[in-house]
Structures are given as structure tokens and as C-alpha cells.
Amino acid sequence: QGKFTLLRDTRTDGSFLVHHFLSFYLRAGCKVCFVALLQSFSHYNIVAQKLGVSLTAAKERGQLVFFEGLKSCLDLLFGEEEEQSEQPSPLQFISESTSDLKALFDFVRMSLTPSGSDSWKGPMLLVDDLSVLLSLGTTPVAVLDFIHYCRVVVCSQLKGNIVVLVHSNEDSEDEENELVVNSLCHHSDLILWVEGLATGFCKDVHGEIKIIKRLSLELTGEQDHVQIYQYKIQDKNVTFFARGLSAAVL
């Protein structure tokens, strides 16, 4: 409850974790607000079906609030004037000169605040992915503020969880992104860091995942607990194994 999980990927694509968390929380019966900035709804729907969850059904029964960033952006730029004046678009920072994400935060807050008829267990916010916001013209401070506000509402007030995906690279020259990622790392309760293999591409081992439990945040004097596994992604599943023990090697 009230946990902030950071998904971080380097040199590879960590979106399989996003799919996992999405279906995981939906199956657990939580109310999910999914801010999908990079892919369309049908993409997530198709993968979720392979994992055994139907996003359209979840949307219909009100369990899933799906914000499709690409579509919203198009509506903002090419939409008719009358539609826009009704409700401010969550992405209005793109067209306005302000770079704060207040509208997006309001959207999240409104979707996760429980209404009387809701019977879901705990709210949950999932963001894929945060690095895109920087590409669209916000400042790192605005992104961090947005996350902070979300944490206050979702984690503290509503006792829900947040899972956020960011991209990062070693020797990255994107300083703004590194700033956001480092700052979020410091504040996360759990970090799942997915990396491509340092030795290059391999068919049987798609990458390495580091699971860091930030026990040092709990002020009990313990160090962070780090576990490292390697993984291989298959069509409907991801298999994890200890380093060097992939099925191809054994």
C-alpha cells in the first residue's frame, strides 16, 4: 500500500513490465488509471489479452481509466474549438506556454478519487512513460512536481500505488532526463531496473533485471536489498533465471 515503484530501462525496452503490472493490478481488482503516452490502446489491449485480461471490459466496468496520450494530443491540435472548451485537455501544456502538468494531475486525481458506487480495492496509477513528457516541452521540475503531487494524492491520501516507467542510458547526454530519473530513484520504494546485456545482443537472454528494495528509506538502518536476474521474453510470458543459468546454457 502506498508504494512508489520505478521501472527503469537502459539499452533495452522495459515495457513488458508495464504490461505485467497492468494485468496484475487489474486482476487484483484495483482501480487503475493508466496514462499511456507512447502507444495506442489497441497495442496494450492485444498484449493484455495474451496475458489473460481484457482492457475493453475493464474500461467498460469502470475499473480502468485509460488515458491515450497520442489521441489526446491529436484532439488538442486538430480538434474542433467547441470540444476543447468543455474540458481542458490533460495535455494542454503542449499548446500553452506554461509548462506545468497541472491539468494532467487534475485528470489523474479525478479518475482515482473514489465515487460512491466504486467497490474496487485501492487505486493505482501507471505511467508509460515519463521520459516522453520531457520530449514534449515540459521541464524536469514540472515532471517531478507532477509525480510529487500524484504521490501525495494516490499514495498518502488514497493509500494506492504508483508505477512509473522511465528510460535512461549510461553516458546519456540527455541531462534533463537523467535528472528526473535520478531524483525518482532516490524517492522510490522499489526500483526494477531492466538493462540490456553489456556484452551485446543475445537471442536467449534478452536482458538483466535488477530488483532494488529500498529498505534504506524505512529508517531501520538496513541497506537496500538488491537482487539480479536475467530474463527472456516469450510471447505470453517472461522467464526469469539466475545470472548465467539461462536454458540455453544449461
Binding site: 504490461h19 497495442h43 495474451k50 497520442l70 489521441k71 521520459s131 520530449s135 514534449l136 516541452g137 551485446g200
Partner: protein, 341 residues
């Protein structure tokens, strides 16, 4: 969204660009060509001619297959990477994807007659249209987006007209985006005025592509972009990223390792759409060569080392290529010899 990093002199990326458009003509897709430096009419006049006579017949077959795939509103991408096996096998195999082209001839105008094509030539557009809502984006990009969106809407590529039986695909080609001709200074200065125009443009374009039956190739002079952060962001926003590195003018031209080839193809990213996994091939080392008639992309392999001496001419390059090659065992063995002092 296929993002191609241009090679230094733009020769080969232009070729790839034309291939994409030529494929569209043969498959009966509609075309949208945008450029700031060359008039699209001229670009279209220079498309390579198809190689075999029966390719046109095959093209009709491809068209039917492609239409059924794209029934959902998802886009069609990753063409060049899928083309790879086709290039290696001989042209007579039964699994054909796409067509072969003869680079020395241009496409005859009759093939164009059946398709509809739209063009966007920046110097013309600047004088015509009034300003639109630019959203802090470079106005050239904004106009291009406006134009693309208009075509998608008018020609019903976005599935908004359920009556239309024949669904077709729009192939969009944008040449040399980000260069100074588009009014963007990311290629000329280290701290450009507006770092977000290109990325915003790509995001909106991605939205348009996802919403409609279209595929897009963009070529960008990546070697000129000083600010690497922009390239990283752009990579995240694209589905497929391919870089072309030609050997012209670089030290690799005289390297015996690469004597059969004209350049390397770096596949930086392949799409992972509608699935947890992506279509990963065995090797990631690809090189291209331009023969008189044919442009081929092949796996990079070393010719056998028949020299008397233990080491090859350039040790450093060899060590580098030994790192690159994942499937060439010959190179690995030779590379290790340097470690025996």
C-alpha cells in the same frame, strides 16, 4: 514510424527513401512525399524501376495480404528489417515480400497512374497557407502536420468512413527532417533555440500514424545534429530506427574488411508492437552495397584470411569488428591472436 539516420552525403539514405516510395507504388498504396530541398515531383521521377516482370503481379497479391492485416487501426511498420531475408535469398524463392528494384532505371510513368499521390514541398507551402495553431512548434513542421492530417482525414485513411470498402494504406516519406531547410537549427548549433520542435512533431506524427492506416519513413541527417539528447528522445519516439553509415571518405573505405561493401546498416531499434516480444533476427551486423543495378543489404561477414601474416592491416579496426560480429567466428579467432604477445 521508421526513422533513418542519413549517411554523411545522403546518397544511400536517399536510395532507401526512394525504395520505400517505389514499393508503395507497386503495392498500390497512396503516397505522400514531403521535402524541403527537392521538389517531390522530381523525387518521384527518380524512383527505381522494378526488376522482374512478374513483380507487378506479385504486388497485387501483397496488396491483398496487407489490407487484411491492417484491418485494425494499427499501423504498418518495420519494412526494411523484414526485407532482410528476402535480400539474401535468391530472387526465385517462393516467400517473397516486397519487390526488387533496378537502380539503373527509373520507374515508368504508367505505374504511377493507378495510385494517388500527394506532395508537400516546403518552399511552395510557405507562400500559400496562412498561419495555423503552432503550439510552440516550428512553423514548417506545423504545416507539414496540418497537411498530413488533412490528407488522412480527406482520404479517409483514419477509418472514419465505414462505407468505404477498399481500405488502402498511405505511405508517407519525409526527407531530411531536422535540417536547416526546415527552419530548424538543431543541425547547426549546439544549443538550439527550440529543442522540442522535432520531438513534438514526431509525437504528433506518431499519433496520426497510430490513428490511421499509414506508414512513414523519415530520413534525418543525424550526423549533423549536435545535441545528442535530441537523438535519444527521437529514438524513444520512433518504432524503428535504422542508421546508415557509408564508407565514403572515412578510413573504413580502404579497410580490407569492408572491401565488398559500401557501408554499414545499424539497426538501433525494432518495433515491439502488439506483442511482448519483437522479431529479433540472428545477427545485427548488416552491411549494404550498391552494385550497378542492385542495392543489397546483407549480413556482414569477413572474407577468409588468406594472407601470410598473422595480423591484418589495421589491428584496431579488427578488434572493433571482433566486438561487433556476433556470428562471425573467423573474426573472433583472429582477434584473439592479438592477445598472444
Amino acid at each position: 514510424l521508421v526513422f533513418t539516420e542519413e549517411d554523411k552525403y545522403g546518397l544511400y539514405s536517399n536510395l532507401l527513401f526512394k525504395y520505400f516510395l517505389a514499393e508503395g507504388v507497386l503495392c498500390g498504396h497512396d503516397l505522400f512525399v514531403a521535402s524541403a530541398k527537392e521538389h517531390p515531383d522530381n523525387i518521384l521521377k527518380e524512383l527505381p524501376a522494378p526488376l522482374l516482370d512478374d513483380t507487378y503481379r506479385n504486388g497485387l497479391g501483397e496488396e491483398a495480404a496487407v489490407k487484411s492485416e491492417d484491418f485494425q487501426d494499427s499501423m504498418k511498420i518495420a519494412w526494411r528489417y523484414q526485407n532482410l531475408p528476402k535480400m539474401e535469398a535468391s530472387p526465385t524463392t517462393s516467400t517473397k515480400f516486397g519487390h526488387y528494384y533496378d537502380v539503373s532505371k527509373t520507374m515508368s510513368p504508367e505505374l504511377f497512374e493507378s495510385i494517388k499521390w500527394h506532395s508537400f514541398f516546403l518552399p511552395e507551402e510557405l507562400s500559400l497557407q496562412p498561419q495555423m495553431k503552432t503550439c510552440n512548434m516550428n512553423s514548417a513542421y506545423a504545416r507539414l502536420l496540418q497537411s498530413i492530417q488533412r490528407i488522412i482525414y480527406q482520404e479517409r485513411f483514419d477509418g472514419s468512413d465505414p462505407q468505404k470498402k477498399q481500405k488502402n494504406i498511405l505511405r508517407i516519406g519525409i526527407q531530411s527532417l531536422g535540417s536547416m531547410l526546415w527552419g530548424d537549427d538543431i543541425c547547426s548549433s549546439d544549443t538550439p533555440e527550440d529543442t522540442h520542435s522535432l520531438t513534438k512533431f514526431l509525437y504528433v506524427l506518431r499519433g496520426l500514424l497510430r490513428k490511421s492506416l499509414s506508414a512513414c519513413i523519415i530520413t534525418v541527417p543525424a550526423h549533423l545534429i549536435q545535441n545528442k539528447a535530441i537523438m535519444e528522445r527521437v529514438t524513444n519516439l520512433s518504432d524503428t530506427v535504422v542508421g546508415l553509415e557509408s564508407f565514403i571518405g572515412s578510413e573504413r573505405e580502404t579497410n580490407p574488411l569492408y572491401k565488398d561493401y559500401h557501408g554499414l546498416v545499424h539497426v538501433h531499434q525494432i518495433p515491439r508492437l502488439n506483442s511482448l516480444i519483437c522479431d529479433v533476427s540472428d545477427t545485427k551486423d548488416l552491411a549494404f552495397r550498391l552494385k550497378r543495378k542492385l542495392f543489397t543489404i546483407e549480413r556482414l561477414h569477413l572474407p577468409p584470411d588468406l594472407s601470410d601474416t598473422v595480423s591484418r592491416a589495421s589491428k584496431q579496426d579488427l578488434a572493433e569488428s571482433a566486438k561487433l560480429l556476433s556470428s562471425g567466428c573467423g573474426a573472433m579467432a583472429i582477434g584473439k591472436k592479438h592477445l598472444d604477445f
